[in-house]
Amino acid sequence: MARYNIEKISDYKWQVPKDEKTGMRVPAIIFADTRVLGEALQGNTLDQVVNVSTLPGIIKASLAMPDIHFGYGFPIGGVAGFSEEDGIISPGGVGFDISCGVRLLKTDLAYKDIRKDIEKIVYTLFSEVPTGVGSKGKIRLKEKDMDDLLYNGAGWAISNGFGSVDDAGFIEDSGMMKQAFPENVSAKAKTRGKDQLGTLGSGNHFLEVQRITEIIDAKKAETMGLFKGQVTIMIHSGSRGLGHQVCSDYIKTMLKAVSKYGIDIPDRQLACAPILSDEGKRYYSAMSCAANYAMANRQCLAHWVRDTFEKVLGIPWERLGIGLVYDVSHNTAKIESHVHKGKEIKICVHRKGATRSFAPGHKDIPQKYKGIGQPVIVPGDMGRYSFVLAGTEASMKETFGSTCHGAGRRLSRSKAKKIIDPNKVKKDLLKDKNIIVLSKNSSGLAEEAPQAYKDVKDIVRVVEGAGISEIVAMLEPVGVIKG
């Protein structure tokens, strides 16, 4: 790891100055406190944050959220905004799992009232929701369906009977990124995705039944429809094989583009093209399609959740109040309007393992939330807690309206498998915390065990301290489904 001079700007903000390394166009800024800074700087992560600062058209800074860790080219937990006019777009700045994201559903149910039904709910979810590697969904898409879905996103799912029209308003971009033209997605990507719609996936994807154990901001919680003791459901999934293939396809396109446009990159995974080039526009369009697929995927998964609760409790899901709080994406590049040097300009904001966190009053958040800011859903791990936060005005100024996305790994996968017994994980969570964990693959449980992850409380404390999000509620798992 190259050693850098890191300056403290505040208790939650650190900077590698622009002149620290040749080629840097802007500083690198890390949001961390002294507790997480050490972990954030481990290995070559800071090199990656600095490398991003060398890319053409970057605005303000290469930003690192407190859950920053080593990725491919761009770090995970990285945010970078590029001028639409003369900046670049990079698949490495989005990630392979395009629009991997989290959806939070609320219910009108109190945990204490359905405690006896939780086991049946979790087991039924496990049998109803397709999970695991190579899992095929219950939905088989024909070619025309696929193109409609890639264009319309969650709207396609809703118009095909998955959920309610009210849901769309509580998804980023109303569940449909514009500029999503399916001709920019390869046949290979479509083939990979055609049987995977409505599947959870594997690895760190999950579906969790939770209860709210703490309300930190009563006013914001009330606006979001959250209350202490409430049953909620969190879904973490993405664009499945379709998104992975889109990224793989366009990395190759961009590797050729860097030579064509004379762009110097310190790392092949930073391969990119000017946003307004043919390659840049095609990637943006294909990425938008993949994001639409991901949002439709989570819409379908939410449908199975509603179905399950209805089946087990014998009450229609609408009467159970199973509504959508919000659906956020972690891995995207979006053309947004932001104020820079006093002027509003179009910026392509890359969030790779980072969440949008728009301020109160922002035009792109639902009317219901304009008074409090955009809900931000930050999952932790299966043994501790997750959080709901709200976006702030400070995030618009500091981070292009962005914040953290999760806890980040503490142990590598291979280390976790060496030292953690997956069967003990399951037994201990049930015995000590009454958490039911069901997984198609028990060896994966070691890799996803709570002790393999950082404490997400440390992360959200930083973003709140930095002013880029405000904590609203804490949620704890009662049932976890893993692929």
Binding site: Q42, G43, H69, F70, G71, Y72, G73, I76, G95, F96, D97, G132, V133, G134, S135, K188, T191, R192, D195, G201, S202, G203, G241, H244, Q245, C247, S248, I251, K252, L255, K256, R268, Q269, R409, S412, R413, S414, K415, K440, N441, S443, G444, E447, G483
Partner: protein, 146 residues
């Protein structure tokens, strides 16, 4: 002492392999075996074998690493779409010529049962990717996004 075909390497957030071979073909085969060992619980478990030829013919291939990526991506694609793994791989041709990459492999493949699967690989990355010739053979590294 017998050289390993591959070994799993530690990575902060994902996973990868170092792989070895006496020649380029064997190293490509062992890279495939290493990738499968991450994904499948019992790589030697055979349900029923069928035969298939895999041909890769691609322009704009700058180096042998890029051909390796295409090879492993093809195997991932077939795993994802057909739920198959290739168990006997015989690489007949492997070459780079004037920016074009070409591979031809005769393979037998088998279907996989869900219980055999332990971890999904999303993609082959270019992070730390290399394949080099050394005295006695080839070795390389590839990291996977999981």
């Amino acid at each position: 002492m017998k050289k390993p075909k591959y070994r799993i390497i530690d990575h902060p957030s994902d996973t990868g392999i170092d792989f070895f071979g006496k020649d380029l073909s064997e190293s490509f085969i062992n890279a495939a075996r290493g990738m499968y060992s991450i994904m499948i619980e019992e790589p030697d478990y055979i349900l029923e074998k069928k035969e298939r030829a895999i041909e890769i013919d691609e322009k704009g291939i700058a180096c042998i690493q890029d051909l390796l990526v295409l090879w492993l991506e093809r195997l991932l694609y077939d795993f994802d779409t057909d739920q198959v793994i290739y168990c006997d791989i015989d690489i007949k041709e492997i070459r780079l010529e004037s920016g074009k990459g070409h591979m031809l492999a005769n393979c037998s493949y088998t279907g996989i049962e869900p219980r055999m699967v332990k971890l999904g690989i999303k993609a082959v990355t270019y992070q730390d990717l290399y394949i080099k010739e050394y005295p006695g053979g080839y070795k390389g590294r590839v990291i996977f996004d999981v």
